[in-house]
Point group: C2
Chain length 147, copies 2
DNA sequence: CATAGAATTTAAAATGGTTTTAAATTTGCA
DNA sequence: TGCAAATTTAAAACCATTTTAAATTCTATG
């Protein structure tokens, strides 16, 4: 299930408040960006995207806010690549593919049995599930062949 | 399928050579450690475990060697936790659970459908598959309840 | 409405795991 | 044995992220 294309400030504010987070302008903008953009941005990318909108925004705030949103389950953190940490505003369970060449991250539905595997775990209380597949995307494969 | 408990130097040497890696004493020791110990050590841990055996061993060599072994598929890298990078000497496909409290990483068989999911991917050539489940282990759950 | 206290944001500095550099050492091969 | 290439090492550099401390903003209360 994907997110909506557009969220109102009131919706974002309500989401933050429901999580017990004080809805500041920075937090609303960051959560809004994560909800509306079906990408997997790093903190740097979020900062670059929003620093026009909020002139005073600092990279520190973006880092701290994303961490806060992750801790409250409003955003999830992806560690698919060891060289950068990125975030996903779609917290519905799904798998991720990453092209090792162009670093693009693609969403995929989570295979059926993963949910039942996780539910069936004994002696372990699951909180977060990530399925990561790294490989080469079609575009990069073609590029390689023609060179 | 787990690894053996004990590997001979000749076996390790042969594995390195088959991968086109020159079998130095450091590389043999590091690969041996990874093969024989069913844990998920960081570079620091590998270094600490082997620096007695090889007095001159440097942490740099451990980092570089683990990277080399991963590049050649002899060892796999886990990015289950965003605060550390660790390694697995068992390259057979399996899932990982990590306790968010004590940070212990447990091996689990990979659920059936994941392999077929990966094989069924179109327009994407898979190279590495990781299923990570983060949560709370039994021991830590009990500890929390009694406090 | 004024104001104080608390929370948040910010810039700057610090942190720490990892990589790079360059020199020293070791290895394989003639 | 000796040389060229590869590897290892210690030290320095790197850089994404966190911490610090001061400035700002928000909220509650009189």
């Amino acid at each position: 299930m994907a997110n909506k294309e557009k969220y109102t400030v009131a919706e974002l504010r309500a989401e933050l408040e429901a999580a017990g987070i004080r809805p500041t302008a920075q937090r609303i903008a960051i959560l809004g960006f994560m909800r509306e953009n079906p990408v997997h941005p790093t903190a740097e990318v979020v900062f670059a995207a929003l620093s026009g909108e909020i002139g005073s925004l600092s990279l520190t705030t973006v880092y701290n806010t994303l961490k806060l949103l992750v801790e409250h389950g409003l955003v999830s953190m992806l560690t698919i690549d060891d060289t950068f940490k990125c975030f996903d505003g779609n917290v519905n369970m799904h798998a991720h593919l990453m092209c090792m060449e162009c670093k693009t991250i693609f969403d995929m539905p989570m295979p059926e049995s993963v949910a039942s595997f996780v539910e069936g775990l004994e002696d372990f209380e699951p909180k977060d599930v990530q399925l990561y597949v790294k490989g080469i995307c079609k575009k990069c494969k073609l590029n390689k062949e023609n060179s």
